[in-house]
């Protein structure tokens, strides 16, 4: 037997004498958050003996202790729906809906009813393995280390703390630079008799670096003082709103490409529902497919019914351990789309059922009787039976009905004549091999006098990779303004930013002066487009002039891409970026009201550091 753990940031594994187990069970679930509670409960209701460990004093995770309550997204379906129902017993609570203290009681009652053994203030310190099979955990119970044996272990810690102790390949952050999505800290106050929350992005943190985590927590709490005096009650959430942690190599992965382009998998664990959520404005640093969807096609708020493969919660070549929650086998973009509250409840329930079946049959999750699994989760309401992959614009406030979106050219291309051309642009991306379509777009662009239509056609042609879009794209960039598309209810992208992004893909060395003007020209910031909007609209939640940041960041990365693609010498470019960083004026323009340690400033600084690194001489 081996004990695997993480010591001083390194994965280590040592042979040990098999310990005497203090406790044993069929399913050992770690993490009593959104997914873990329903995983443990579901496994127990399938007849498994279940132990649920939780690091904190009580249950709830992000949903309750993180105060993520107004953001109740994901798709309906599953046992959690019963816990959301209002009953007379709820009248003792100030907020009698699916949120708050009522939910905490419901969850505790659910676990008690299903016979789950709940152990709070218990934290795993190591994984017990026999070969490639996880057979239990070493756990600190607050006083001493104990050992718990299990046929199947579920890592529902969100941040993959058990997975970190496993011999499986892991990845952190987004591909270009390893950075995570911003975390949030929710502040609560009462005003006019209502409990109100402010959910603000509080910066970027490495959740696996204890010093960085502590420092960022202190910063976030300190910055929350801006909310003092807003109302009668003031509190910050007891639990940090981390959105993104590690991912790992699984038996079958989910990805941005599969969500947007691929067919459903053969064995579906459950169906999720979300947009490809992405916080911050660092889209210039994202991967190309995501930029095509989010920036150029402006489809940030399009929701997708996502078939999540069964194998994505099974670490590759490992037995006896699976995950439930936002840590699973995926890329950074898909991970942001499969973490909504209700989806996590349902994911947990489905993993719990699968884990119980696997424990009983002594098989891997991927080898369970899938028909039996499907029948069970369908009876629980987790599957409706008629799900299919679909796209649409959703309006959570209910002020407008859900609107399906079609990317079939006949349906989508007419939108290129509007201020909401997103589906039309994306349709062209999907048909980028269709040269006849490209020719049609080009001819129309040359023959129409509709300025808006011309610009949209240029973007459509550009996303197809057609260099005939370049003259019009250059004109958009030259004339740059603060016009943004109107497809979504929020996160609408600047047309100028989309055009600059495409210049980065298609541009040639002759385009460099145009981009350099945006990045290096002293008088660029005097242009009206950076100052036209009212301050409330101009500055993002962190205090960044988002128009300037968007255009600057896309132009800076476009410069790098053109240099790289055409193998141009980058010494001068590197020095110019370095000068910008050292001199600081640009950062002051982007975040004029921020202090150097605050997120708006540090994240803007990170952009410059990124392009400096990209243009640095290779060793």
């Amino acid at each position: 037997m081996h004990l695997s753990t993480v010591e001083n940031h390194q994965w280590v594994s040592r042979p040990i004498e098999p310990p005497v187990m203090d406790l044993t069970c069929d399913v050992l679930c770690v993490g009593a958050g959104s997914a873990g509670i329903y995983a443990a409960d579901a496994a127990a209701r399938q007849g498994a003996k279940v132990i649920l460990l939780e690091n904190d004093v009580t249950v709830g995770g992000m949903h309750l202790l993180g105060e993520v309550r107004g953001y109740y997204y994901g798709f309906a379906g599953g046992s959690f729906a019963q816990d959301d129902l209002h009953t007379p017993e709820d009248e003792i609570f100030f907020l009698s809906d699916h949120k708050g203290e009522k939910k905490k009681l419901r969850l505790l009652h659910r676990l008690q009813e299903s016979g789950v053994t709940l152990l709070c203030s218990h934290t795993p310190t190591g994984i017990l393995m026999e070969g490639r099979r996880v057979v239990g955990l070493q756990v600190f119970d607050g006083c001493r280390q104990i050992h718990i044996g299990a046929k199947m272990t579920i890592d529902a810690t969100s941040d993959g703390h058990l997975i970190r102790m496993c011999p499986v390949k892991k990845s952190y952050g987004r591909a270009p630079d390893g950075r995570y999505a911003p975390f949030s800290l929710i502040s609560t106050y009462i005003k006019d008799g209502k409990r109100r929350r402010i959910n603000r992005d509080a910066g970027i943190v490495d959740p696996y670096d204890s010093r960085d985590l502590s420092h960022k927590l202190l910063l976030a709490h300190a910055q929350a003082k801006e909310h003092l005096g807003k109302g009668a009650l003031f509190q910050t959430a007891p639990h940090l709103g981390i959105r993104e942690g590690l991912r790992y190599e699984s038996e079958e992965a989910l990805s941005c490409e599969k969500i947007l382009l691929g067919p459903p998998p053969e064995k579906i664990l459950f169906w999720a529902y979300s947009d490809l959520d992405r916080h911050g404005h660092e889209h210039a640093l994202e991967e190309e497919l995501f930029q095509s969807w989010w920036v150029i096609s402006n489809l940030a708020t399009v929701t997708v019914r996502i078939p999540v493969p069964l194998g994505c919660v099974v670490p590759k070549d490992l037995l006896g351990i699976v995950t439930a929650g936002r840590c699973y086998g995926t890329d950074s973009y898909a991970q942001s789309a499969v973490r909504m509250n209700r989806d996590m409840f349902r994911m947990g329930e489905c993993v719990g059922v699968a884990a119980a079946i696997a424990a009983e049959s002594n098989t891997s999750l991927t080898q369970i009787d899938y028909a039996k699994y499907l029948q069970t989760v369908t009876a629980l309401g987790c599957f409706a039976g008629d799900e299919k992959k679909s796209f649409g614009f959703d309006f959570p406030l209910g002020d407008r009905p859900y609107t399906p979106v079609s990317f079939v050219p006949e349906d989508a291309l007419p939108r290129l004549q509007t201020e909401a051309p997103g589906p039309g642009i994306w349709s062209c991306f999907l048909h980028q091999e269709d040269r006849a379509l490209a020719d049609r777009l080009f001819d129309t662009m040359n023959n129409t006098r509709d300025h808006l239509y011309q610009n949209n056609l240029a973007l459509a042609l550009g996303i197809m990779g057609d260099p005939r879009a370049l003259p019009r794209l250059r004109r958009i960039v030259s004339e740059r303004d603060c016009f943004s598309f109107k497809d979504g209810r929020r996160s609408n992208q600047l047309r100028s930013a989309a055009a600059i992004c495409l210049l980065g893909r298609l541009g040639v060395p002759e385009d460099l002066p145009l981009l350099e003007e945006i990045v290096f020209e002293e008088r660029e910031f005097e242009k009206a487009l950076y100052h036209t909007l009212e301050p409330n609209d101009l500055y993002d939640g962190q205090g960044r002039n988002f128009i300037y940041f968007d255009l600057f960041s896309h132009a800076a990365t476009a410069l790098v891409k053109i240099h790289q693609r055409h193998e141009l010498a980058m010494t001068a470019l590197h020095q110019r970026f370095q000068h910008l960083l050292d001199e600081g004026t640009v950062l002051g323009r982007i975040a004029p009201h921020s202090l150097p340690h605050e997120p708006a400033y540090t994240e803007s600084r990170h952009l410059l550091e990124y392009v400096i690194a990209q243009t640095a001489p290779k060793a």
Binding site: V59, F94, C120, Y208, S214
Partner: protein
């Protein structure tokens, strides 16, 4: 490996006061808060009068006054967390949050080899002195924030339902806190349903707004138990005094 003079287990105003007086101190706190007793456990809203005795205490009080954390004898518990975090950052005090001390060993050179469990995994530090500021065996209380539209009726009713508890106003608008005593070994998750059942057993207008996710200690002894002070400045200066007393003995 860096050797800390002191490793404090448990954060709060006492710990920070100690750390400002005794540099080269590391504070290890298992929660995500710098001041968990006030901001997470909602220890008490009433602020006992206290006159700072030290320049650091006076400076901290000025800072808190500037933030408007004290009014009408009451203190803003969430605001205390903001203020203390800001103070910690400005003064470079080392603190590890989400950190548990899981083992320690006294070495031949009279230093401690301490095993920490953090979000990073297992980490190891060395220190000359190990001080536990938690109060594991102390009596505790659970705080429930509630709203009442008829306090003249509700408060006596709740007092009869929870005869050992005490009630205090929190903020304007009919919001109160009920502090229910509990033994050191009470299980929070089993205690909660019983409290709610009792709350619902009598008809009244009081509605539960929030139940603190952990207990607050209520011991009243001085020195090492100084963190139970209801006044955070008093707790802070108790930490300073503790550090100075140890220096005198070193």
């Amino acid at each position: 490996m860096k050797i800390y003079h002191t490793l404090l287990i448990g954060s709060g105003h006492t710990a920070v006061g100690y750390a400002i007086a005794q540099r080269n101190t590391l504070i290890c706190e298992e929660s995500e808060a710098c001041e968990p007793a006030f901001s997470l456990a909602l220890k008490q809203y009433r602020c006992p009068p206290y006159t700072p005795q030290t320049p650091q205490g006076r400076a901290l009080l000025s800072r808190y006054d500037a933030l408007g954390l004290f009014a009408n004898g009451r203190q803003n518990l969430g605001g205390l967390e903001c203020g203390l975090c800001e103070y910690v950052l400005e003064n470079g005090i080392e603190i590890l949050l989400k950190c548990r001390v899981i083992a320690y060993e006294l070495l031949p050179d009279a230093t401690y080899d301490v095993t920490l469990l953090t979000n990073a995994g297992l980490e190891y530090v060395r220190c000359r002195r190990l001080l536990d500021l938690r109060h594991r065996n102390a009596p505790r209380s659970l705080t429930i924030l509630f709203e009442s539209t008829a306090p003249a009726i509700d408060l006596p009713l709740l007092s009869s339902l929870f005869p050992t508890a005490w009630v205090e106003p929190t903020f304007d608008g009919g919001y109160y806190a009920l502090h229910i005593p509990a033994s050191p070994t009470t299980d929070y998750n089993q205690h909660l349903p019983k409290i709610c059942n009792r709350w619902a057993s009598v008809k009244h207008t009081a509605k539960i707004l929030y139940i603190a996710p952990r207990y607050a200690d209520t011991a009243e002894e001085a020195e090492l138990n100084a963190a139970e002070f209801g006044n955070p400045i008093a707790a802070f200066e108790a930490g300073i005094a503790l550090a100075k007393a140890e220096k005198g003995g070193d």
